[in-house]
């Protein structure tokens, strides 16, 4: 039976640690299917009012993130996971939605068995003010396993 994994990927060190962990744990599972998801936070129209500029920002970010996802897939390949078992996705998160909500939406749509997120190691103050993606995913994910990699 296939085991599908959704990795919330970004260029941060903690996200890369999460990817490496998946590589180490899952390389021996022949039926693994991995989706690498990067969520781009679109710029706020209140801060960048020009729609064209926002679009340019998102396009640039998308191509950067796709390159980053390719790099991550090579990391996984180095652990022995075949490229054919991986796919990439970049999604743009609208102003009022959070990154965690977008990850959870992808989980619902793709019916993944496992969600993998890295944890930044925020201070309490930062978590109070900014919120934490991993905490929210852990709290709100249903019908799956969540791996939080520190």
């Amino acid at each position: 039976m296939d085991h599908s994994i959704l990795i919330a990927a970004d260029p941060s060190e903690n996200a890369l640690r999460a990817v490496d962990y998946v590589g180490r744990v899952m390389h021996c599972h022949s039926n693994v299917r991995i989706t690498l998801l990067n969520v781009i936070k679109g710029p706020s129209p209140d801060i960048l009012p020009d729609e064209d500029e926002r679009e340019v920002y998102v396009q640039r970010k998308r191509s950067e993130m796709l390159a980053m996802l390719e790099e991550i897939s090579r990391r996984l390949t180095a652990f022995g996971i075949e490229g054919t078992k991986m796919c990439f996705k970049t999604e743009v998160c609208s102003e009022n939605a959070s990154i965690a909500q977008r990850i959870l939406q992808e989980h619902q749509e793709g019916e993944y068995d496992t969600i993998v997120v890295g944890r930044r190691g925020m201070s309490k103050k930062e978590e109070f003010l900014f919120g934490s993606v991993s905490s929210k995913v852990v709290r709100e994910a249903r019908n799956c396993t969540v791996w939080v990699v520190e």
Binding site: K41, P43, S44, P45, D46, I47, P49, N96, S98, I99, A100, K124, K125, E126, E127, F128, L129, F130, G131, S132, V133, K136
Partner: protein
């Protein structure tokens, strides 16, 4: 309106004649050039500029805000605050955390539209000047800010808590409910402070002002407002803020790190150690903003539910 008509209106409303030739601005981009005695023509209405608004924080060190004009509506004689366009970004300090902050006329204009019938907020309209600037024309609220109001109450904390605090707290909860409605409408105030809450002398409502700050927030968009609400609640419950040093000197209370604020190292959050008659339910709320809090409020709904319990406890106590 012709210049002679404008002059006549100014004479009627101010009981003094304009000095020299009237200057009428339809483009407000160069707001530094607009000063007292000038007239703004915005969307076919005329406003006499009375001067620059000052950032009245704590009544000292007042800084003029050159992009915010005190004005008189020459049609109906009402006092207005005219907020011109000034884009800036700067680092705001929330406790010792630094956050990149942006001023957005667009955001404030949108919120003004959303709260135009909400008594918990300043009211006004948004118009474009001839250069396309988003100008906000806000009704002046007559009354003190919460900070000054509380500071002027000359009494000890116990007397304050059992006499003045209950109605103040009621009004404050209503104002917090206003923030809840704002969040439900997908907006963030962005700069909740005890001097951004005015007490409307006419109706007694507590009304939030100045919501043009915006941020590139990550996960919880409402964290900054919850931080602000926590500070305002602490200030009102304590009749001012209490530092570690003041508290130790005045009450001899034995304070430990867990009694202190998460964001302000020397600010006491555990007010029950200073004022033991404060009910437990209030303390429960405050400790969410404490250094050793294990649980934070993530949205105003959670905070408001706890404040409702406080309200019941207070009614029982009296």
């Amino acid at each position: 309106m012709k210049e002679s008509d404008l002059e006549e209106r100014i004479r009627t409303l101010t009981r003094s004649a304009p000095k020299g030739k009237l200057r009428v601005f339809r483009d407000t981009s160069q707001f530094m050039n607009i000063s007292a005695g000038h007239v703004l023509q915005l969307s076919d209405r005329f406003y006499l500029v009375r001067g620059d608004e000052v950032e009245g924080r704590f009544g000292i060190d007042e800084q003029p805000k050159f992009w915010v004009k005190k004005a008189l509506d020459l049609q109906d004689g009402s006092s207005k605050i005219v907020k011109l366009v000034f884009y800036e970004s700067f680092t705001m300090h929330l406790g010792d955390l630094a956050v990149e902050c942006f001023r957005s006329p667009r955001k404030e204009g949108r919120i003004l539209e959303k709260v135009r019938r909400d008594p918990s907020f300043m009211h006004g309209i948004t118009v474009e000047d001839d250069a396309g600037n988003t100008v906000r024309i806000v009704d002046k609220i007559l009354g003190p800010c919460l900070y000054n109001f509380i500071h002027r109450l000359d009494m000890d904390h116990r007397t304050y808590f059992f006499t003045r605090f209950p109605p103040i707290f009621d009004r404050l909860v209503e104002a917090a409910e206003g923030i809840g409605r704002l969040h439900d409408a997908g907006e963030v105030h962005g700069d909740i402070r005890n001097d951004h809450l005015l007490i409307d002398r006419e109706h007694g409502d507590y009304r939030w002002i100045d919501f043009d700050y915006t941020y590139e927030w990550a996960e919880n968009r409402f964290g900054v407002d919850l931080f602000g609400l926590g500070n305002v609640l602490l200030f009102v419950m304590g009749k001012g803020f209490h530092t570690l040093k003041d508290a130790t000197l005045s009450s001899g209370a034995s304070l430990v790190p867990a009694d202190m604020s998460l964001f302000f190292q020397h600010r006491v959050i555990n007010l029950r150690k200073l004022f033991p008659y404060i009910p437990q339910s209030f303390q429960w709320v405050l400790m969410h903003f404490g250094r050793e809090a294990e649980l934070f409020y993530e949205n105003t709904g959670e905070l408001l539910a706890d404040l409702e319990t406080c309200r019941s406890d207070l009614a029982y106590l009296l």
